[in-house]
Amino acid sequence: MSVVSPAPPLRLKESYLSVSFTIRSWLLSTDHKRIGILYLLSITALFLFGGAAAVAMRVELMTPQADVVRAEVYNRMFTVHGVIMVWFFLIPSIPAVLGNFLIPLMIGARDLAFPKLNLASWYVFMAGAAFTLWAIVRGGVDTGWTFYTPYSSTYSNSYVMLTATGIFITGFSSIFTGLNFIVTIHTMRAPGLQWFRLPLFVWSLYATSLILVLATPVLAISLGLIALERLFGFGIYDPNKGGDPLLFQHLFWFYSHPAVYIMILPGMGVVSETIACFSRKAVFGYKVVAMSSLAIAVLGFLVWGHHMFVSGQSTYAGLVFSLLSFLVAIPSAIKTFNWTATLYKGQITFATPMLYALGFIGLFTIGGLTGLVLASLAVDVHVHDTYFVVAHFHYIMVGGMVMAYLGGIHFWWPKMTGRMYPEGWARFSAILVFVGFNLTFFPQFLLGYLGMPRRYHTYPAEFQVLNVMSTAGASILGVGYLFPLTYLLWSLRYGPRAESNPWNATGLEWQTPSPPPTYNFKETPVVTEGPYHYETGE
């Protein structure tokens, strides 16, 4: 934990945190770092809210019969969980918190290209969240997070339009963020920072931003068309009026499948950074890993029909989408193999971020390979809409993205706050999260394969053992999440002060004090080499 190039000791008032302490200075700040912290606070609160809905579901599922909630309430619970976790936690998680905080630091810039747009994105996000929460308080939605027609149109009996409006609004905050990142990465790189000297985290967020900008408008369109049908009687999705119900699924998944990559690509960026740092090695095959992010972003747009294999889509389209879905596994596999190759002969230390990164590799691999199972046309007929699907995407979203997010938060916590977290507690909870996660979701693969459908609050008695295991795992997972919440808050006051580069990492963000001054660098850094000069640099 020695410092290679100690930055000059920082007088406290220079840091972005101590420029001003008023609430107004936070709410009107255009500093990308402060906006990142605003997002961090907001999405943490929303994560707890979405998590509470999951707890309610897992409690209900401890016994085969209904004992805590009615079917209607259960439907609203899983819809709340999905809507909040997808749009108000996972999509903004790494991009809006870590991306906002780190991209300008990593490319040697003073801020993002459009600081006011950045602040606006947070307000728009909060407005969308407020709409959605209002809809939930008034009675909720029972369509599932997918809003499939006709549940959301002809036969809707819940607050669909209010929730959809919230998501529609939030979409604009995604577009603002994506646009800001693209322009920033194109135009504000420090002198000498060529494209192939960018950290892989920046590459992954560049790819993510392309998806945010290209896909999100289609979500707005698909929800907007529901509004047109419901309010003005246009025949868009209703076959009685000449519409096509499958059109909704096409439009929705044209956004929502790439959205899965919005949720996982930034996690891959975090893992690339941590694996390199804690193996003391350059990432194996840097250019290929960078390009695989772009390949995932592009190919990710060509696979949406694999959500529709059993919904009446033509067999020909099913074949095409199945084949394309197999293709998108290739760049993901490239990344996984290259991280493993990076570990080879590395000087590995098991610090907390590294534990999360290693967990990510294992869990993402399981999630990815079961994705191939689901992409196979015939097998999908058996497991479609069962717990197998639930387990699969939670291995990607929670086992992958949430692990990477927590790993990233730990890795850059000293930079963000200027304080070290307690390493022992952090390692303990990383292991707790890993164990709890697997105990929660591995039984769900078995349940799905045995035929338990998703989205039911009752089930046959023979499924109880596996469901109890899953609920037990969820409680461990919950505790595993509460630990970091507690000790990270504790560290803000009692944690030891962090040096500018506590991990001995390469990367421009470590060459400025922790926490950084408002404009990040006293002098614009000049870059002369690639991002991971670990072997030669130390």
Partner: protein
């Protein structure tokens, strides 16, 4: 500078007038029975209108090549959306 600004304003009003003319043609064409060609005519006019808006109102005509490339990227993604949806719809 003034004459330059006047010129720009004249151009914007010219495009606005063109868009209104195209709107009238769209409405008029809807009353002429052309069979399947009706939808083609309507879509062609819509594409022309969208292109005028992008090219002039959204300043693509004076933008750098990379901005134009990104705009074309948006068009390409629209083609992906229509093409793969058609792969289902036309093969049902």
């Amino acid at each position: 500078m003034d004459s330059h600004a006047d010129h720009a304003v004249r151009r914007y009003f010219g495009i606005f007038a063109a868009l209104l003319v195209l709107l009238v043609i769209t409405v008029g064409a809807a009353y002429v029975h052309l069979g399947a060609a009706n939808i083609v005519v309507a879509l062609v006019i819509a594409v022309v209108k969208a292109s005028l808006v992008a090219w002039v109102f959204m300043h693509l005509r004076s933008s750098t090549p990379i901005v134009i490339l990104f705009a074309l990227g948006g068009v390409f993604w629209l083609v992906i959306l229509i093409l793969l949806t058609a792969a289902d719809f036309l093969a049902r």
